[in-house]
Amino acid sequence: MNSTPDASVPATAGPGATRMSVAPSLRTLAGWPWGAVLAAVFIAVLAGITAFPQSLSGDDPLSGDITQSLVPPGAEHWFGTDRLGRDVFTRVIYGARYSLLIGLAAMAISVSAGVLLGVASGLGGRWRDEGITRLFDVLSAFPAVLLALLVVTFLGPGLFNIALAIGIAGIPKFGRVVRSQTLLVRRADYVTHAVIYGRSRLDTLLRHLLPNVLVAVPVIATINVGSAIIAVSGLSFLGLGPQPPTPEWGVMLAEGRDILRVAWWAGVFPGLAITTSVLAFSVLGQHLQRRFEGRL
C-alpha cells in the first residue's frame, strides 16, 4: 500500500527535471515534456471510457459466452477471457469507472477536510494549531488499509465505505501541506504589507492569502490520485470493496490470481491498467508541481 507521502516533502523529481535539460526544448511540446503530454492524454482517455465505456467495447462486462472460457488474448478477445468466458478487455474498460470514481471520491474527502483543517491550523493561534496537528497525527496513525479494515468491519464492505476510509486516511497528507503553505504565505511580505494599501484583514485573507495557499492543492491532488487508486484496488483485492461480479480492477486481479498458472492474462491486464493509470497521474502531478514550484 504505497500511498505517496506528504507532498510538503517534494514528492518526486521525475525524469527530465528542468535543471537537467539544458538543451533547447526539442523534448517538449508547447512547453510540456513528452511524458506529461502522454500522461495527460492517457488521463483524458481514462475519463472518456469512465463516462462512455460502451464506446470502446460492445460486449456485456457482466456475462460472457461460457463455452469461450479462458481463451488467450487474440483478435477476438484482445485481453483474452476469464473463467466465465467474459471478455477481459471489456471488463477492464468498465472497471476504469470504479477505480477512478472511488479514487476521486476519496480524494474529494481528503482534499476538502484537509484544506479546511490545514488553513484553520495555519491561521489559528498556538492552541488551535497544536490541536489540529495532533489530530493529523492521530489520523495518520491509521494507514489506509487498516482504517479500511475497521470501517468495513463496522459498516460492511462496499464502494462507498472504502472510499470513506481512504478519504479519511488521506486527510493528514493534505492537511499538513496546506498548513505549511498557509504558514509560509501568512508571513510573506505581500500579505503582511497589504495593510499599507488599506486592505482589511478579511480582504487580505481572501485576495492574497487563500488564493496563494489553494493554488498548490490541485497539484498535490493530482499526484495523490495515483496512491488513492492503488489503495482502492488493494482493498478490493482483499475483498473489502465491491463484490463480484463487479468488474473492478482489484476484484479482477484477485479472481485472476487463482488461475495464474493456466491463464496469465486474467491477472496481468487489470494490474497493468492500475499501474499505467497511477503512472499517468504521478507524471502529470510531478510536472504540475515543477511548473508550480517554478512560479512561486
Partner: protein, 311 residues
C-alpha cells in the same frame, strides 16, 4: 557542546505528544464504537448466536456501568495490553495476535531495511549526475512507485515460483519463503523513498557549502557520503511515519498474495467473520507502533540537525 538541556526538553515534549496521540487514537476507537447504531453487545458479538454470549460481553465490557467508567476501564485495559476476548475464536485477543506478530514484523522490517538500502545507494549514485543514469533511475523509481504491491507479488510469483521454481510459493519456512514477499513489499516503498532522497540530495548539492567542500579537493562520492547524505536524511526521516504505515498496510496485502501467516491474515479473517475485538486490537496496535516509530524518528531528526538544538 550544545547543552543537553534543550535536547532533553525537546525529547520529553515529543514523548509527551506521542502518549497524547496514542491516547487520542484509543479514545477515537472507543467513540467510534459507541457512535455506531445498535448496542455494543450486538456489535461485538458480530452475528454469533451463541446462548449467553451477549450477557458475557456486557459483563466483560462493563456495559451496565456509566459511560465515563466504561471509558476509563477501556483505556486502562488497553494500557495493560488486554484487548478483551474474541467471541468468534473464543480466546483472548492478545493470545491470537501475539502468536501472529512475528511473521508480519519480520516481513515489514526486512522490507523496510531493503527499501532504505536501495534508496540510499540509488540516490547517492544518481543525485546530481547528468546523463542517462539519472533519467533511467528516475523512470524506474516512478514505475516502481506506481506498481500496486499485490500485482507485483503476482508477477514475481508467476516468474519465480511457477516458471522458475527458485522460491517457494508460500509458507513460512526458512529464508527462501521470505525472498519474494520482501521484494514485493520493498520495491514500491523503495521507489518513493529514492525519489525523496534524491530530490533532497539535489537540493543540498545546490548549497554553496558544496563548492567549498569541492574546493578542498574532495571527490564527488566523498562529498555525497560525508556531507550531502546527512542533509538528505532530514526530509527522509520525516517520512519514517509514512514508511511504517505503508509497510504495515502492504504486509496485510502481501500476506494475502503469498498465503503467508501473520497479522494480515488474522485481521482479514477477523473482518470477514465480523470479529470486532480482533480488528480493533490490530488497528490500535498498528497505530501505537506508528506513533512510537515516528516519535523515535523525530528525535533522530533532532539529533542530526544541531540548528534545532540551541534554544
Amino acid at each position: 557542546m550544545p547543552s543537553p538541556h534543550p535536547v532533553l526538553k525537546a525529547a520529553l515534549l515529543r514523548l509527551g505528544s506521542a502518549l497524547l496521540v496514542m491516547w487520542l487514537a484509543a479514545s477515537a476507537t472507543f467513540v467510534a464504537l459507541h457512535a455506531l447504531p445498535g448496542r455494543i453487545q450486538d456489535i461485538l458479538a458480530g452475528d454469533l448466536e451463541l446462548p449467553g454470549l451477549k450477557e458475557a460481553i456486557s459483563a466483560e465490557w462493563g456495559l451496565d456501568r456509566s459511560l465515563p467508567e466504561q471509558y476509563l476501564d477501556f483505556i486502562v485495559r488497553i494500557a495493560h495490553g488486554d484487548f478483551g476476548s474474541s467471541y468468534v475464536m473464543r480466546q483472548p485477543v492478545s493470545k491470537i495476535i501475539g502468536s501472529q506478530v512475528l511473521p508480519t514484523v519480520t516481513l515489514a522490517l526486512l522490507a523496510g531495511a531493503l527499501a532504505t538500502l536501495i534508496a540510499l545507494t540509488l540516490a547517492t549514485l544518481t543525485a546530481g549526475r547528468p546523463g542517462p543514469a539519472r533519467r533511467l533511475a528516475a523512470t524506474l523509481e516512478l514505475g516502481s512507485a506506481s506498481v500496486p504491491v499485490f500485482w507485483l507479488g503476482i508477477l514475481l510469483l508467476m516468474a519465480f515460483s511457477f516458471r522458475l521454481p527458485w522460491f517457494p510459493v508460500s509458507g513460512d519456512e526458512g529464508w527462501r519463503a521470505l525472498v519474494l514477499p520482501t521484494l514485493t513489499l520493498a520495491l514500491p516503498t523503495a521507489g518513493i523513498l529514492t525519489q525523496v532522497l534524491r530530490e533532497a540530495m539535489e537540493k543540498a548539492l545546490e548549497q554553496p557549502f558544496v563548492t567549498t567542500v569541492r574546493a578542498r579537493g574532495l571527490g564527488e562520492l566523498a562529498l555525497r557520503l560525508r556531507h550531502v547524505l546527512r542533509h538528505a536524511l532530514l526530509p527522509a526521516v520525516t517520512l519514517g511515519g509514512w514508511l511504517v504505515g505503508s509497510l504495515l498496510g502492504g504486509a496485510v496485502i502481501t500476506e494475502k498474495v503469498f498465503g503467508r501467516p501473520g497479522l494480515g491474515t488474522v485481521t482479514l479473517n477477523a473482518v470477514l467473520s465480523q470479529d470486532v475485538p480482533v480488528v480493533l486490537a490490530v488497528v490500535l496496535l498498528a497505530a501505537f507502533v506508528y506513533v512510537l516509530v515516528s516519535t523515535a524518528l523525530d528525535l533522530l531528526y533532532l539529533a542530526i540537525d544541531p540548528r534545532l538544538q540551541t534554544p
